[in-house]
């Protein structure tokens, strides 16, 4: 253990009680104990801390060194804490410097933990209860974890083993560890050799992506089934969450959940139609479907003499205070513009302007119109599933006339 870390830790504790900490003096005392007297660093830390605390008259209480005992859901980053909980998941150690990594839970929640190889701890077993005294709370990508280091004392407890996991609604997931009650609603193609399954889970409040990596004993979920998923890892990337199922206990359940569609609605004027709208060509290579350039060039598969035609509109919908990018799919484009894919193809083939003619005609039909769009928002872009023109509302007129206060206000 690095002495300067202990020095920092002690001085932080002293300073947090409102006293000045003399780092060089602390270091001197520590070195003396550790180097000259062969005291274990953890003991030296405690001794020095108590010495200084006594000098200043700081009441540290019985468990002062190790930090306050806390509920798992109330810890914050960089805090020194003592917690008691049940190890609910234990993973393979990813590196020789890590002895154990897993998840520990109490009645308030669960948190990831890492035990460094340097820490001297008893054997840690899944489903047993432990007391982690003086562990450090760390934060990485928004997820908290506990670091069990050489200064942490780990004690196995006589646990009763009964722990009811806290179920989190999908809409309230945050990076860390969570248990959910969800229905599997979509299965996606796996994008990696090591991936066993990926897809979408949902409950009444929202949907979330999940991934199960290939590992012994891991099973696939069945679309349409309802599961209790205990202690999955919640990762966050670009503001979106995903569940890593490898740590989780999964219990299938009878019954059904009315999963929310996750739809959002936005209304405003269509103020811009971007290039790449109208009639487009898509790459036919398997699983690609990217839009080809005018010269039939796919960014991945290069020249594609064969392609599929499609319709779409990329544009900006604006309500006067906010502008939302919208991507309108073929069926909706057809009903909105009254131009079908077949008609558009024919128009493009028989017109000197080709596909531009379709773009121009669609623009004349819908640019500057008030629309109400419904769909799913992905990466700040609204993927529109349905769309309608907004009509004049006499009730709104009456309401606004009242708001002005009348002719002579």
């Amino acid at each position: 253990m690095d002495i300067s870390q202990i020095v920092d830790r002690i001085s932080q504790k002293i300073e947090s009680k409102g006293h000045a900490a003399d780092k060089s003096k602390i270091e001197q005392k520590l070195r003396r104990l550790i180097e000259e007297f062969g005291v274990q660093p953890a003991d030296a830390e405690r001794t020095v801390l108590y010495d200084i605390a006594r000098d200043y008259g700081i009441p540290l209480g019985g468990a002062a060194g190790p930090g306050d005992q806390k509920q798992i859901n109330s810890v914050s980053p960089e805090e020194w804490v003592t917690i008691e909980g049940k190890v609910v998941a234990l993973g393979n150690s990813p590196s020789p410097s890590i002895a154990y990594s897993g998840i520990i839970a109490d009645a308030s929640g669960a948190i990831r933990f890492v035990v460094w190889s340097k820490a001297s701890v008893p054997e840690i077993k899944k489903d047993s209860w432990y007391r982690f005294e003086s562990a450090v709370v760390d934060e990485f990508k928004g997820a908290l974890s506990l670091k069990v280091h050489s200064g942490t004392t780990v004690k196995e407890l006589e646990g009763d083993g009964v722990l009811i996991p806290v179920i989190t609604p999908v809409a309230e997931l945050a990076a860390g560890v969570a248990s959910v009650h969800v229905k599997m609603i979509q299965e996606w193609d796996v994008t990696h050799d090591r991936m066993l399954q990926s897809g979408l889970l949902g409950d009444e409040t929202g949907t979330v992506k999940f991934v199960t990596w290939k590992e012994e004993g891991k099973e696939r979920l069945t679309p349409g089934c309802v599961y209790n998923i205990y202690y999955a890892l919640v990762d966050e990337f670009n503001g979106r969450h995903s569940l890593n199922m490898n740590t989780a206990n999964i219990v299938a359940e009878d019954g059904d959940i009315a999963v929310t569609s996750g739809a959002t609605t936005f209304q405003g004027a269509l103020v811009h139609i971007a290039p790449g709208s109208g009639l487009i060509k898509r790459c036919t290579a398997e699983g690609c479907n990217r839009v080809l350039s005018r010269q039939n060039y796919c960014p991945v598969h290069e020249m594609q003499p064969k392609f599929n035609y499609d319709l779409r509109i990329k544009g900006w919908l604006d309500d006067g205070t906010r502008t939302e990018e919208v991507l309108v799919q073929r069926e909706v484009v057809e009903s909105l513009t009254g131009m079908t894919l077949d008609e558009s193809k024919e128009l493009a083939e028989n017109n000197p302007l080709g596909m531009d003619e379709v773009f121009l005609r669609m623009r004349e039909k819908i640019l500057g119109r008030y629309l109400r769009c419904e769909g799913r928002e992905i990466d700040r872009r609204l993927i529109v599933n349905s769309c309608e023109c907004i009509h004049f509302e006499p009730t709104l007129l009456a309401e606004l006339l009242n708001r002005t206060g009348g002719e002579v206000s």
Binding site: V271, A274, D318, T323, R363, G368, E407
Partner: protein, 197 residues
């Protein structure tokens, strides 16, 4: 073009934000006397300050085009008058806005049109202030859309007048303009009263 990069690793914090198109009656827009840039960069956006207390980089308006003129020889551009219930917008489309210019070329007044554009303010040597709008796009629409726009703009104007929390822009506007809120409410009432139930 104006679409932000997606996929890959977008820097979400720095992602480009499109300026919303404000809804402003001609009667308010012609009162503009303040124009500023947000930042010192050549590319930083330019705003006009609306008397009702909001910065404005872009407008969306619907009205009747009553007059269209072609001007200039080498640098040809169109100038159009578009009226709403409270006054006239002066809209120009030049060779820097080829889309809008070509759209404008096909429109014969009188016609209901929807315009998206950027407002700017000019002061002539004799001190007259002119506010015009450089069109980004202009399309022919129908009367119902005009009526929807009047409702939309009435609501936006009242929202700005009734805004309970002062913003830097509204403070700036209060210093710059000494508007009579009652007159603005009357303007909104007048615009609304021209619509039929």
């Amino acid at each position: 073009m104006s679409t932000p990069a997606t996929g890959g690793f977008p820097k979400r914090e720095n992602m480009f934000e499109r300026e919303p198109a404000r809804r402003v009656f001609a009667g308010e827009l012609r009162e503009i006397r303040e124009q500023f840039r947000d930042g010192t960069d050549e590319k930083s956006p330019s705003y006009v300050l609306l008397p009702t207390g909001q910065r404005c980089n872009r407008v969306f308006l619907v009205g009747s085009m009553t007059e269209k003129k072609r001007q200039g020889e080498q640098n040809m551009f169109y100038r159009a008058r578009i009226v709403d219930p409270t006054g006239t917008f002066f809209v120009v489309a030049g060779s820097y806005q080829p889309e809008a210019m070509q759209q404008m070329a096909r429109i014969e007044p009188p016609a209901f049109v929807a315009v998206v554009g950027k407002p700017s303010m000019y002061e002539t040597p004799d001190g007259t202030v002119l506010v015009s709008i450089r069109a980004e796009s202009i399309t022919i629409v129908d009367r119902e859309i005009r009526d929807c726009w009047v409702l939309d703009t009435a609501k936006a104007t009242l929202d700005r007048l009734d805004n309970p929390t002062p913003s830097p822009d509204s403070v700036h506007a209060t210093e710059k303009y000494h508007i009579d809120p009652v007159a603005y409410r009357k303007m909104v009432y007048h615009a609304l009263s021209q619509l039929k139930f």
